[in-house]
Symmetry: C2
């Protein structure tokens, strides 16, 4: 009898993580001699700890195929990091216990650096406990901060969303600036790395096109230099589009957003750097402003996903299963770039121990001397990642996303307090 | 010699106002015996007052065709309301003077209620001053608040954007809610009418689908009832998606956003009702929240425009010229709905004096008894307006929007202080 597989989604979801799930499940289904049923964790790894396993065999081929064009985490994801082996060995043992109870021989963990670390630990513990399990990490993160892979599935689509939004909102502001808003601020995700905000630069084709200022977490914020740049843009082009990463910090290392507004109860409002920047612009320059906070809209925007990203997300899922079938263990499939233009890439492989808990940052040479824009090298890197459109089907004017049955497998073990 | 035409965009721009411009210019070009050159006002009516007339004859047929898929105001718009005839007769006389200097016999004014009022006044004054001019208003507003027309070009696309965003972000929150964000708040435009927020209801297909709560300006906000509704949604479905119109008011008539956060300088922050609602949720229920403020992204989002809206925006532009050629004056083409399902509509006509300065509001029977959702009658009205996709062409992963030359006609008059 072939062993079953366990697949889980981890951390913040993306527009294409379900395309990876689709790649895993479709590829597994194509190998019934080697892989039994794919069980998906309900809410990620919690599904394994709590023995809440979604039986993907209950989903039709059409539903699984529809995952390719469905955003967010169809099985539920979780922000839940397993503690260290020493601190909480019981959790890891529970995982192995659940895997054993359901005859699971393959563990596919779809997430960022933390998840690769967990997959790595499970692989080592399995051996130690006499229940060897094939552990394959699958890359996913909008933050593009995984090492060992040229880019991360999820990033290309959020990059495309931000570039499109910058171009469109930029046209709006340009047309109104004479009598109304002169400064528009778009806040993007990116707590530690500026990749997402940097992608807005793709919207610029000609001198004077938006964005005019990009504020990156990598560059300590200097209010006076920023205001001078905004003023210069308004004086020269009539308006200014600022794209600001939520993770921008001041010279003392604090988040700029923490200096910000207080709510009705006097509490500092988190997650809003745009209003802080807007207030500076109004106070320092007197310009009328507007701001947008894209928040989840950016990472859920499957309707404007990058076709390259969708293809790679699917390919990572398929490759994960193929690596497992080839007897590889404790590895993660990667994207290897072979050339920028024409863009060529292939599937590679990285050892989980090299990927786990390492954060890849944006290279210094991708930021220009002013600190307010990116370099041509950065644009060359980014361009292929947003290439191509991959529209979901529409019904009644709205994207028709997959609806799963999410039937749970019957439990075989006593409850466990995660 | 045929008379020239003047076309101007007015007020907040939309994803499809340029489709209307395209309809005006293409139709005028098809009638060279009756209409000479179409001059577009640089920044709306200011272009006429300051004699800054963009010569659209300098734009190629391809560029004009591309306006159909280009968002925002290609010639520049303006938030500029002409004063009353008595207060500032000089402005109206200047308009007539500029029209006379450039042999302009047709005035097409593309905007909301204020603009229809201006077009109406110009038409009366022209007669009075012995320079009769054909004045045609063309409807445009994302707020859907013009009377006499079943819907307004611009609204269908923002409605589609908000419905898509609600569905996508809703899937995101649903997949994360077990361990992370439980309440997501999406702030929409709509200072006076709840149409845009109401459109989010289209995202719901089945019981439990988002949105779970819609906050409309038409319904006085009651904090306790709101929090109870949020709690019930979280308890029942695991999460809650709230769509809030920027124009929501408390029982005393003040904007809810004004009760909100203060910036770093102690000023009340405008345009942010989402953080106010979020703070209430956190304070009153303790749930983790996220919020998005779509701002200009929603009305500039040509990439996800409604095909119905694009078609109607173009049709209004074409009809405006056809009405002028048929000798009509001081009228506005309208959208007349003939049936909901299948959706059938035709072009109608309204007198500017009936449209000017009248604000159409959302019918009371479109809001359900709870005040937190819309009725089936409302959905029946909304559904056809978001139907169909009309994707712009893409180059290098980004929408290829029209770039105009915007060459100004030589001035023939002394400067005028607008």
């Amino acid at each position: 009898m072939p062993k079953n597989a366990f697949y889980a989604q981890s951390g913040g979801v993306t527009a294409v993580i379900n395309a990876t799930a689709c790649g895993v499940i479709e590829t597994a289904r194509a190998h019934p001699q080697e892989i039994g049923t794919v069980y998906a964790g309900a809410h990620g790894i919690l599904g394994a700890l709590q023995e809440e396993l979604i039986d993907t065999a209950e989903e039709s081929a059409e539903t699984i195929a529809a995952l390719r064009h469905t955003p967010a985490g169809a099985f539920g994801s979780a922000r839940y990091k397993l503690k260290g082996l020493e601190e909480n060995r019981a959790q890891y043992e529970r995982l192995i216990e659940v895997f054993r109870a359901h005859d699971i021989g393959y563990f596919f963990y779809n997430g960022g650096g933390d998840s690769q670390d967990t997959a790595h630990k499970v692989s080592r513990l399995g051996e130690h406990l006499g229940y060897p399990i094939t552990c394959i990490g699958i890359p996913k993160t909008v933050d593009n901060d995984l090492p060992g892979t040229d880019s991360c599935p999820g990033f290309g689509s959020v990059a495309k969303y931000i570039a499109v939004a910058t171009r469109e909102a930029g046209l709006d502001v340009a047309s109104m600036a004479r009598t109304s808003t002169k400064v528009f601020i778009l806040e993007t995700m990116g707590r530690h790395a500026g990749w997402i905000a940097a992608a807005s630069a793709l919207a610029r084709e000609e001198e004077g096109d938006p964005p005019h200022v990009i504020l990156l977490p990598e560059v300590p914020f200097e209010q006076q230099r920023f205001l001078e740049r905004v003023r210069a843009s308004v004086e020269r082009f009539g308006y200014c589009v600022v794209v600001v990463s939520e993770g921008v910090r001041t010279a003392d290392g604090g988040f700029l957003s923490d200096q910000g507004s207080r709510d009705a109860f006097g509490h500092v409002q988190l997650g809003g750097v745009a209003p802080v920047v807007a207030a500076m612009v109004k106070e320092g320059l007197g310009y009328k402003y507007h701001y947008a906070i894209a928040d989840y809209l950016q990472r859920a925007a499957r309707h404007i996903a990058s076709a390259t990203d969708v293809e790679q997300a699917y390919a990572m899922g398929r490759a994960a299963v193929e690596l497992a079938l080839a007897g590889r263990n404790a590895v993660m499939p990667t994207i290897v770039r072979e050339s920028d233009e024409p863009y060529r890439w292939r599937v590679g492989e990285a050892a989980l121990e090299d990927v786990a808990n390492v954060e890849a940052s944006m290279p210094a040479e991708y930021i220009d001397d002013s600190g307010f824009f990116v370099t041509e090298a950065c644009l060359r890197y980014l361009r292929p990642l947003i290439a191509g459109e991959d529209y979901p089907p529409y019904v009644n004017g709205l994207p028709a996303y997959a609806r799963l049955r999410r039937r749970l497998v019957e439990k075989r073990l006593p409850a466990f307090e995660a």
